[in-house]
């Protein structure tokens, strides 16, 4: 019931809002309210599933497999809530600053519907359609602003991600062909007896699709152009909410559907993740443009998720979930902060920077702690060294930019301060990042539940 409402709220309100003129203040705020309502429902749902339960519903009341299975477990709800939170922040950011296009608020809410749907569906094809809903909304959003750079960003983003989507669809077709089912549980069950060659080829397709979405090295080339070119709010949406599809997809499809293949590819994942960390980190150092620096940083940060996933096991997976969550908040905070001027912003940016570098008391430190645990569990000194190098790189690139922007900026270059509300919003996000670092238990516990839920589906 709650699950269906979580879908219904953004869907209907998005449909209504998209018909209204989003440049009107009231409409923009209505979108914020709709997102807040969505978040609230997801919050209640999260409370329900955090004790290990799942909310499941099959459309039309048909048997599993005939109807579409919607299932909210801790993993899905966590990602959904997180993404909607980021959307909420971005929408509020724009609502305060003044929306520049008629359709922005409606599209954000519909994006929220798509994301919520794909995080709570337990059906492979339904995942694809929700995924397309979310992606199509983001394609439309990526051109928001309409300037040359934004247009180019949108073009690159759309073309590359469409390619990724179709690769995904090919793999869905393959999954159906070899299992004769679409419900994730059934697919997982039947995949166990499928010819390993076919299974691994399908898994490779899924992996490619999600890697493109995440912007992992070497699938990342589109990402800097897009994140740096898009407006800050859109960049926050793309990196903080839409990119979650990639990490969630890798977790869900990798662990629940293709555990064997994931094990097989463990080393390859770690290597790719390590390459992402180093590449993104080094590239981010001398960028000059804060947004571009953050874009490369994003490439590096998702590397950590991949490394943790490659190591696997409860510790590694928990680290992957936790780090995805923290990273998504960090990126939302930093991208939004990069578009705001005035008091409070420097502090918010600094907190975000500390969080990315994994320095307490910001939330990122919990993520780093879990990652180090992963490295130690894997028994790999190289991995630990890599993590240290990654932290060092992130300190260098973030604080170089921080100091240039907030410490040395000559007064003439700094424009007028942004509206106070916008700054307060950024500060609120920063406080959230701080709070999750000071009191990490909710984050840790929920990540733990999420991984339990993920692994529980694995051993029927």
């Amino acid at each position: 019931m709650l699950l269906s409402i979580a879908l219904l709220v953004p869907w209907v309100s998005g449909a209504l809002l998209v018909a209204l003129d989003g440049r009107r203040r009231a409409v923009a705020w209505l979108a914020v309210v709709a997102l807040a309502a969505n978040l609230a429902v997801l919050g209640v749902l999260a409370a329900e599933v955090s004790t290990g339960g799942v909310a499941q519903v099959v459309t039309g009341g048909w048997p599993v497999g005939v109807g579409i299975v919607l299932r909210a477990d801790a993993l899905g709800v966590a990602f959904a809530a997180l993404s909607v939170l980021v959307l909420l922040a971005a929408a509020a950011h724009e609502a305060i600053g003044g929306v520049r296009s008629r359709t922005f608020p409606g599209l954000v809410v519909l994006l929220s519907a798509g994301l919520t749907g794909l995080f709570v569906t337990a059906d492979v094809f339904s995942f694809y359609v929700f995924f397309e809903l979310a992606m199509t909304a983001s394609y439309a959003l990526s051109a928001y602003g309409g300037k040359r750079r934004q247009l180019r960003a949108a073009l690159v983003f759309t073309a590359v991600n469409l390619l990724g989507s179709f690769i995904f669809l090919l793999s869905v077709a393959g999954a159906y062909r070899v299992t004769g089912a679409l419900a994730m549980d059934q697919v997982a069950q039947r995949l166990l007896t499928v010819n390993p060659n076919a299974a691994v080829l399908i898994a490779a397709g899924f992996f490619t699709a999600f890697s493109v979405k995440l912007g992992l090295f070497p699938f990342h080339f589109w990402l800097p152009t897009v994140y740096a070119g898009a407006r800050p709010a859109v960049a926050a949406i793309l990196s903080g909410a839409v990119a979650n599809i990639g990490s969630y997809g890798l977790l869900r499809f990798g662990v629940a559907l293709f555990p064997e293949q994931l094990r097989l590819a463990g080393v390859a994942l770690v290597v790719l993740g390590a390459a992402s960390i180093v590449y993104g980190g080094v590239m981010a150092v001398a960028r000059g443009d804060a947004a571009e620096m953050l874009a490369y940083s994003a490439i590096g940060q998702v590397g950590y998720v991949l490394v943790a996933l490659g190591v696997g096991g409860p510790v590694g997976l928990t680290a992957a979930v936790l780090y995805s969550a923290v990273n998504s908040l960090n990126k939302a905070l930093l991208f939004l902060a990069s578009g705001v001027r005035g008091a409070l912003v420097a502090a918010a940016f600094a907190l975000g920077a500390l969080s990315v570098a994994g320095v307490p008391p910001a939330a990122g430190f919990v993520g780093k702690l879990e990652l180090f645990r992963t490295g130690v569990v894997a028994g790999s000194a190289a991995l630990v060294v890599l993590l240290v190098v990654g932290s060092a790189l992130s300190l260098v690139y973030l604080f170089q930019v921080y100091q240039r922007r907030f410490w040395r900026a000559d007064p003439q270059a700094v424009g007028a301060a942004s509206p106070l509300a916008q700054r307060l919003l950024t500060a609120a996000l920063a406080l959230l990042v701080l709070a999750l670092g000071v009191w990490p238990e909710p984050l840790l516990a929920f990540s733990g539940h999420a991984v339990e839920a993920l692994l529980a589906g694995n051993s029927p």
Partner: protein, 148 residues
């Protein structure tokens, strides 16, 4: 037949990919359209069971697997939607950039890049004087007793 479908899908995808790499944005859209066709034909080819259309099925009839057909319908519609959006993007890009060539789009990015050089240098300075800038800037000079 399996091989034939696989070959058709491969040609659609390969040709689509080749078109995506062209400079002409219109050809890029055509590439995406081909890849979308590739996905639909693959879904249909993934049917489990062939026969007549699954309408008013009597038990035991050999019918075509209806599920992939439903999926193909959805995929077709989504393909239409996304291609239309991509076309609109390309169209807008052509209006704004006054060219349908990707290279020219990238050229505007290069201008932006160049404008960033000053800030990049500023970034580098934040970590201290460059070695080639010579010298201990803040440490005392080696003959520190010398009054200025």
């Amino acid at each position: 037949m399996i091989l034939a479908f696989a070959l058709a899908a491969a040609f659609l995808f390969g040709s689509g990919a080749y078109l995506l790499l062209k400079r002409d944005l219109i050809r890029m859209v055509a590439g995406i359209m081909l890849i979308s066709q590739c996905a639909v034909v693959t879904i249909i080819a993934a049917s489990l069971g062939r026969g007549r259309a699954a309408i008013a099925v009597a038990p035991g009839d050999p019918v075509s697997d209806p599920l992939p057909q439903a999926l193909a319908l959805t995929a077709l519609v989504i393909g239409l939607a996304t291609v239309a959006l991509l076309l609109a993007l390309v169209h807008r890009a052509v209006v704004v950039f006054r060219t349908a060539e990707q290279d020219r789009l990238a050229a505007t990015e290069a201008a932006h890049e160049a404008a960033l050089e000053r800030e990049r240098r500023a970034d580098r300075e934040e970590v201290g004087p460059a070695p080639e800038e010579a010298g201990p800037a803040e440490e005392e000079p080696a003959d520190g007793g010398r009054a200025r």
